[in-house]
Symmetry: C2
Subunit: 288 residues, 2 copies
């Protein structure tokens, strides 16, 4: 058995799977305090404790992924004050001392999609999640693109839409992309949750512009072979097409890019990308 924890800022999803990566059981619960939330985690895995060979864990962040760091396995800065400097891997190792892969939640998703989903056989796969938060990760030739730490693409600065005077809610950067276009930003800006806006609401043109700008900047910084757009906001009917139109307008034929219907896509694994990515990372970790 392999175990997955998708530790999102809003909810945790825990799952166990077998060596065929079939999901045996999965639960989810809201992200509250570390104590309460981790107790839910442990309670779920208790019944499988003797069988779990490894964990794949993708967490909201920023997190410390440097194995030689004194705070490896910690969540570091986050607007969620309860979780600042929480020793996630330390807590997990105390619970069950098996191999653990530790990365960001969006890296779990890009791993799933790159190895099992829309990015199979491509050199360079980039994944954005546009949900409660906004984040991105990429895999180039089988490895996460990183260095001193992991990417934090959701906090990149953006060019403001001309019809948009929303200030942005990011406590660190104001009108960065997460501050302008995440699910939280939409609710803060319009007073209603994204999923309750009709798909013909004029706001979606602005949202598409910001998402397209993220796809554009990722194209210029990383030149991936595909950009996969996941997360709850992307489920709005028609939004993907609006993003493609806005992307083409921003690009203005400057670069040759793949056909947009193959370049900007929804996740093939749908909501399972992170769980399957985690289970695969756990399996690979346990079988080296």
């Amino acid at each position: 058995m392999y175990a997955s924890i998708e530790a999102g800022g809003t909810k945790f999803v825990c799952a166990v799977g077998n060596s065929d990566l079939e999901i045996i059981e999965r639960v989810s619960f809201p992200t509250t305090t570390p104590e309460e939330t981790m107790n839910h985690v442990f309670a779920f895995f208790d019944q499988y404790k003797d069988e779990i060979k490894a964990f794949g864990i993708g967490s909201f962040g920023p997190i410390d992924i440097q194995e030689d760091s004194a705070t490896y396995g910690y969540i570091t800065k986050t607007p969620k004050t309860h979780w600042v400097d929480f020793d996630f891997i330390g807590a997990m190792k105390k619970y069950l001392d098996v191999p653990m892969m530790w990365t960001t939640d969006v890296n779990s998703s890009v791993y799933g999609e790159a190895k099992l989903g829309a990015g199979v056989d491509l050199d360079h796969v980039l994944y954005y999640t546009v949900g409660t938060g906004f984040g991105g990760g990429s895999i180039y030739k089988g490895r996460f693109t990183q260095g001193h730490s992991h990417p934090e693409m959701g906090h990149a600065l953006v060019r403001r839409h001309l019809d948009d005077d929303y200030a942005g809610y990011c406590p660190f950067h104001g009108d960065c992309i997460e501050g302008m276009a995440s699910g939280v930003a939409i609710e803060d800006r319009l007073g209603v949750r994204a999923e309750t806006l009709g798909s013909d609401h004029p706001y979606w043109e602005i949202e598409a512009y910001y998402i397209a700008q993220s796809v554009y900047n990722a194209t210029l910084y990383l030149s991936p072979n595909i950009v996969i757009l996941g997360g709850g906001v992307m489920k709005v009917p028609g939004l993907l097409d609006k993003v493609k139109v806005a992307f083409a307008e921003i690009l203005n034929e400057y670069l040759q890019v793949p056909d947009l219907d193959e370049y900007i896509v929804l996740p093939k694994l749908e909501d399972d990308a992170a769980t399957l990515g985690n289970l695969l990372m756990a399996k690979e970790l346990a079988t080296v």
Copy 2:
């Protein structure tokens, strides 16, 4: 002998070097029409023609680097209309049929700095050139970060400085980073060349803000271990320090980054980064 061509949008630099990567001879001339410019290139290499084992070529772009493409080795889109769809590698192969490494001019520089300069022993090295144009490239674990094509970091969109009403000159995107902060943008904006502005001119605060934003966005997209800032504009006394201050302000302590004096640096190879990068690529190509 190994040969280097740094094909910049303003000038070409050609050089030959020996197997110790000592530069034996180097010339430079302005970039005019392809015919005239390539005749200068051939005339320079003629005297070494029998000894040259391989070429390392870094070109302004965008260029086609996909080896299975019908237009591999071409310059593709460029505001320099004479050079649109110019078959660079075709012309070179007709001149001398030896192995040729073909990449962007900024990738030549990042290769030099990563292997021989400020980035030696680091996993992920990013290089920006802030000169006539504005460009960036990165090397992660020995390989250029790329995918469907090469990065074009100079055309990323930026958040406008509050005191700046310059429209930007980029014919494709207006106020992208190259349109706002390259040497051409500075001259277009202020009517004088960057090197004639005193280092205490108030404009440098605005320039530093845009460069810092590029460093910030590269940090969020790629998380490199070092960001090396080359190009003529970076030679302005005090500009590097202004960039570090502006970077820290934008970052707002959101992420842990390396010590800024080690993270944001000038090139160790100074103006030789691209030539040495090309010579090394040529040497490696000839000795596999």
